[in-house]
């Protein structure tokens, strides 16, 4: 009896410790980011840093304005959402409500596979197919652009939107739909007037999840966006918050390096905001 209790305690302690590892990592990363990101912001000045429109980190008179990166990240994410959400949403409705079980299982594994493809592969395909494609299709000098990044991101966020929306739609109680059908609504009316509103917090969560994936993606966008610190424009070469950190990190030094940490800190705040809104939607879904 006594040994068993000791064992219980031991196991309890072990699990607690393992749980704390995850929490500890988050705290450590947060603390590290804040400590290494703040000095450069203090030196450059918060307003100059966030709203400066020129980034020239190695010029003889260096300028550290990250407004182009912030705007590019916002526009790129917005574009990806604008393209990815309709596609993902309608796919989810179709898969959850209309598709035959056989088709659904095939499509579901295809979507899971899409989620599992490493981002560098998306980037590579984008670089070798999409970028030359945009160049010839739109007859522009070079295809590496915000548009290319938006297209890649739109495909990358599809799996999270489809899967989370689908789960939400499938969780809608059958009685709701039966009642609607019994009242004479057509199946399509039922799906869009009853099932979708009932699943709306889950669908909203899927969109937020997509935003999170799009804004945090570095590798794929770096390979297709051209990486020049321009203000965002559809056919221009642009640099995202993420790719700004990655592209200069390897050879950076001094204030340049510290400024890269500050960019990461800004990105971290964006992600925090997104996570907070995700929690908000999910909690609201539970209460509803």
């Amino acid at each position: 009896m006594n040994t068993q209790r000791t064992l219980e305690h031991l196991i309890y302690g072990l699990f607690l410790l393992l749980g704390l590892v995850a929490v500890g990592c988050v705290l450590l990363i947060t603390a590290y980011l804040v400590f290494s990101g703040l000095p450069a912001i203090r030196e450059i000045g918060l307003v100059d840093f966030l709203f400066g429109d020129t980034w020239a980190s190695t010029a003889s008179e260096p300028r550290f304005g990250i407004l182009p990166f912030i705007l590019t990240s916002i526009w790129g994410t917005a574009g990806a959402i604008a393209l990815g959400v309709p596609v993902g949403f309608f796919t989810a409705v179709w898969l959850a409500k209309m598709a035959s079980p056989r088709v659904r299982s095939i499509m579901e594994s295809a979507v899971s596979l899409l989620a599992g493809i490493p981002s560098v592969v998306y980037g590579l395909v984008g670089m070798l197919v999409l970028v030359p494609g945009i160049r010839t299709f739109f007859d522009v000098p070079d295809g590496a652009s915000l548009l290319a990044a938006i297209l890649v991101l739109a495909v990358m966020i599809l799996p999270s939107i489809i899967k989370v929306s689908m789960t939400a739609l499938q969780a809608v109680p059958q009685e709701y739909e039966d009642a609607s059908l019994a009242l004479g609504a057509t199946p399509i009316e039922t799906y869009f007037r009853v099932s979708v509103p009932a699943a709306k917090s889950g669908i909203a969560a899927s969109v937020v999840l997509g935003v999170g994936r799009a804004i945090g993606e570095a590798m794929a966008v770096m390979m297709v966006s051209g990486n020049v610190a321009n203000m965002p424009s559809l056919f221009e070469s642009v640099r995202f918050l993420t790719s700004a950190v990655v592209s200069e990190m390897s050879y950076s030094s001094g204030l340049q390096r510290e400024a890269l940490f500050s960019i990461a800190l800004v990105l971290f705040f964006f992600i925090l905001l997104i996570t907070a809104s995700l929690n908000f939607f999910l909690k609201r879904g539970k209460e509803a």
Binding site: A59, P132, S247
Partner: protein, 268 residues
């Protein structure tokens, strides 16, 4: 300190293959200077340390100017500069020994009819003054400028040779030589620069002022887009035994393979 893995492996192999010296050297060898030389001097330092276990090699990446100042003030054994010494620096009692040359090839798509550019044309192209290939004898299409990210040694080298520092109007800033080559190989209107050692068949290297880039033309100086990697020492001052050993080692023919693995053309 960052070094490319293949270079490291090769450096280690070369070091193990070389016969050990009879009398073991000990002490420290401190180097200070050019960030562009990081890869070359890092691989050499690693190889030397492997050969002489008691020697500690240090490298302080500060920049050519700072490295020259450091060796002059006796704060390091060997200064590293990725440019030739100025007359003023030479007359102040410093001695320059060229370790290697860093050749940078200008690459275009094989479909591009342009075969040769002058150094002045290259500068004009990269600053945006010349924006169409037809102005330099090519087809009527906009020139797409491909470059490297800020902080890259190749970018720094290219911009200092063409005197276009902070003035280049890049269309794309890529983070590796491989990306530059891939991008140029896909866009008939693109021009890029890449370290000579890594140029592949998928792109064509331009001749500059009529001279094709090659190990020979870089070595004899006829190919212009290059810069020397210089070891700076104080004239008439004897180096400490460990530093002397390192100096002799890296300027010996045996080190040339390590230098080429790190992407430069050995001078000795």
């Amino acid at each position: 300190m960052k070094r490319s893995f293949p270079a490291l492996v090769l450096a280690a192999l070369v070091a193990f293959a070389a016969p050990a010296h009879a009398k073991p050297l000990s002490g420290t060898v401190s180097t200070d200077g050019s960030t562009s030389m990081e890869k070359v001097i890092g691989s050499l330092g690693e190889a030397f340390e492997n050969e002489h276990r008691k020697v500690k090699f240090t490298y302080n990446p500060t920049g050519s100017g700072a490295g020259i100042a450091a060796v002059k003030e006796g704060r390091c054994d060997i200064g590293l500069a990725s440019r030739a010494l100025k007359e003023k620096e030479k007359s102040s009692g410093l001695k320059a020994t060229v370790l290697a040359y860093d050749g940078i090839a200008l690459i275009v798509n094989p479909k591009n009819p342009v075969k040769d550019l002058s150094l002045a044309d290259i500068a004009k192209i990269y600053t945006g003054e010349v924006a169409n290939w037809k102005e330099v004898g090519g087809q009527d299409s906009a020139i797409v400028l491909i470059g490297r990210e800020a902080g890259s040694g190749t970018r720094d080298g290219f911009e200092s040779v063409t005197k276009t520092k902070d003035a280049c109007k890049y269309r794309q800033e890529l983070t590796s030589t491989g990306d530059v080559i891939t991008t140029v190989s896909q866009n008939p209107a693109a021009i890029g620069y890449a370290s000579l050692a890594s140029v592949k068949k998928s792109v064509r290297a331009l001749t500059v002022d009529g001279v094709a880039p090659s190990e020979e033309s870089v070595k004899d100086g006829s190919y212009k887009v290059q810069r020397p990697f210089v070891l700076v020492t104080v004239e008439g001052k004897e180096l400490a035994p460990a530093a002397k050993g390192f100096f002799d080692y890296i300027t010996s023919p045996a080190a040339s393979r390590i230098i080429s693995a790190a992407g430069a053309v050995a001078a000795h």
